[in-house]
């Protein structure tokens, strides 16, 4: 566990001319590392992980994913996206396709896997997130927690080296958060690199190797979870933690 798989070197990004959303980000994420990113809204944490699979473009600095430098080269972007799975706050399942079709779409069309094999793979992943019996339903027929687990299974069907989670539980009813976190915790035990934007501090304590706190486009503080929660260094972090843990 020493090889860097994601490297941000002096990355800067702006929205328009004015809004400097990422400022001199330097960050090395190791292979197999579980990284949790937290921070107030607008701090750039979502933008940061969306740069990893180039849903957002950065203007300055280098982002290197598993040896591939991200730029305008479409082939490089495709290569990176094949290794990076992503789970969104709003699930973003394809409502016109069944659960199974959601999972087989990319393997069949991007990786050109034969249908039978893609379906086998999909069923394996659905078992993994404990939802195999819903394979032939449409996404909108499922609860939010079930939909998010399908979304996780869909991302896993690409057999990615890296999984990105962008506030995966923020849109869920309280009763459904646990079923999604349980799946994520299980996944964390299996060696995959995970970058998770979340405010679920219980999850951070349970699985994170490192917690990063961002504010105003910068990494303010990073530490292993026990240090981060028990002995935060900056006043900004202390203030943030007191607000989200203070009741």
């Amino acid at each position: 566990m020493s090889e860097t798989i994601i490297r941000f070197a002096k990355v800067n990004k702006w929205y328009g001319n004015q809004f400097h959303v990422l400022r001199d980000i330097n960050l090395d994420i190791l292979k197999g590392e579980k990284l949790v990113i937290c921070g107030p809204s607008g701090s750039g944490k979502s933008t940061l992980i969306r740069c990893i699979n180039r849903l957002e473009e950065h203007q300055e600095g280098d982002i290197v994913i598993d040896g591939i430098t991200l730029g305008d080269d479409v082939k490089a972007i495709d290569a990176v996206r094949k290794q990076v799975g992503m789970v969104f706050q709003q699930f973003n399942l394809f409502p016109h396709l069944t659960v199974l079709e959601n999972l087989t779409l990319s393997p069949m069309w991007v990786s050109k896997v034969p249908r039978k094999e893609a379906e086998d793979r999909a069923m394996q992943q659905l078992e993994r997130v404990r939802i195999a019996e819903q394979a032939n339903k449409y996404p909108l027929q499922l609860s939010g927690g079930q939909q998010q687990r399908v979304a996780i299974a869909r991302a896993l069907c690409l057999r990615p080296k890296i999984m990105l989670f962008d506030e995966p539980t923020s849109a869920l009813d309280p009763e459904m958060i646990k079923e999604v976190l349980d799946v994520m915790i299980e996944l964390a035990g299996q060696g995959i690199t995970m970058v998770v934007v979340t405010h679920e501090m219980g999850f951070a304590k349970a699985v994170a190797d490192r917690v990063i706190f961002m504010d105003q486009g910068q990494i303010v503080e990073q530490a292993p979870p026990d240090l981060f929660f028990n002995d935060p260094q900056s006043d900004r972090t202390k203030d943030f933690l007191s607000k989200i843990l203070g009741h």
Binding site: N53, L55, D78, R81, K82, V84, G85, M86, F88, Q90, N92, L93, F94, P95, H96, L97, T98, L105, S106, W109, V110, S111, Y138, L140, Q141, R154, A155, L158, L164
Partner: protein, 374 residues
């Protein structure tokens, strides 16, 4: 918790779910509620009833009780004002339906029309949706062309400017719809493209076409376009008119489809991108299926519009159904007074076509809404 009373009035007991109460008032009560439920609906009901009672019996008497059924112009003249002259249709239906097409060869447009209608019915049947359908289209289209034009297999040559009536209407509408739809999808995607040149071209095309009435487009296709071509090049007038209608219809339809494209959440595209899908894969598999499903009613509006707009090609001397009606009656002093009856006849034909399309669109909507069902 001072000042707050805790409410635990009784021991909690779950209430079993039951069905909603049934409406058992019967048909008469329902009718009364709908027709005379409020002062406004009472007034509306009475006014409409009065209008119906004023007009309907007269119309029925004219159309069904006192009409002349036989193709006898003298009898028709006598009955004028009293009864309809359906004899005009018995006398003229072949010209109305087949236009200028040589009289002895009318079986050819008849077969062509039946082939086309059969093809349309087959294409609308779910059980037949497969790649074979494309082959069927090619075969039928070639067959229709060969049968109508002739010049081969011992069939006498009939040039496209003599094609007319219902076959021309169906052929023009079918070809224009089939060509305009994919074009409109491309233009709609193009207008939303990130590439400024492509987006500009599509925008200019849409705005130009929408700024001009179809009649002008047809005039241009028919009269101006040949002037711009190098002398000696001849493009068939039917082909030019077909291209004109297609370009015109596609511009309108593109905007309807763009509306659907805009309604697709950005997250859908991002999810597809994160799964490594290319632009075209994303459009084809994710965006278009959802966007097109949303705009079925609007697109069907355009289809029906194309079907009826084919009647405008008369002004460039192609006598489709409406034009052929004029052809049949204008030059015949005996029958000219009975245009109304003839127009009612082709109204029925147009209505049958439009109504079928509108019902089909409802069926498509029902098919597509299944994935939304909870």
């Amino acid at each position: 918790m001072t000042g707050l009373t805790r409410y635990t009035s009784e021991v909690f007991a779950p209430v079993a779910a039951r069905n909603a109460p049934r409406n058992e008032q019967g048909a008469l009560a329902t009718l009364r509620r709908h027709l005379f439920g409020s002062r406004f609906s009472t007034i509306t009901t009475i006014v409409l009833m009065a209008i119906f009672l004023q007009t309907l019996p007269d119309f029925i008497a004219w159309a069904l009780i006192h009409p002349v059924w036989t193709p006898d112009a003298a009898l028709c003249k006598q009955a004028m004002g009293e009864g309809a002259c359906w004899g005009v249709i018995a006398e003229k239906y072949r010209v109305i339906i087949f236009g200028y097409y040589p009289h002895a060869e009318h079986w050819r447009p008849l077969v062509a029309t039946l082939l086309l209608l059969g093809l349309l019915v087959a294409s609308c049947t779910r059980a037949l949706w497969s790649q074979w359908l494309v082959l069927l289209w090619v075969i039928v289209m070639v067959a229709v062309f060969v049968i109508l034009r002739g010049g081969w297999f011992g069939l006498s040559l009939v040039d496209t400017d003599r094609w007319g009536g219902l076959p021309l209407t169906v052929l023009l509408a079918t070809l224009s719809i089939v060509a305009a739809f994919p074009l409109s999808v491309i233009v709609a995607l193009g207008r939303r493209s990130n590439m400024p040149a492509i987006s500009a071209v599509c925008t200019v095309y849409i705005e130009l076409i929408r700024g001009v009435p179809l009649i002008s487009v047809l005039f241009m296709a028919s009269f101006m376009f040949p002037l711009l071509m190098p002398t000696g090049t001849k493009i068939d007038v039917l082909l030019r008119v077909f291209i004109g209608i297609t370009l015109f219809a596609a511009a309108y339809m593109a905007e309807v489809i763009r509306g659907g494209l805009q309604a697709i959440p950005k997250g859908q595209v991002e999810a597809a991108q994160s799964l490594g899908m290319s632009y075209w894969q994303t459009q084809r598999k994710i965006v278009l299926p959802q966007a097109l499903a949303m705009v079925v009613p609007g697109v069907m509006n355009n289809f029906i519009g194309i079907f009826k707009d084919t009647s405008l090609v008369t002004i460039v001397s192609l006598y489709e159904l409406t034009g052929a009606l004029g052809l049949a009656l204008n030059s015949d002093a005996d029958w000219r007074p009975f245009k109304l009856e003839a127009y009612l006849f082709i109204t029925l034909i147009y209505f049958a076509g439009c109504y079928a399309m509108s019902r089909y669109s409802l069926w498509i909507e029902a098919q597509l809404s299944r994935s939304k069902a909870r």
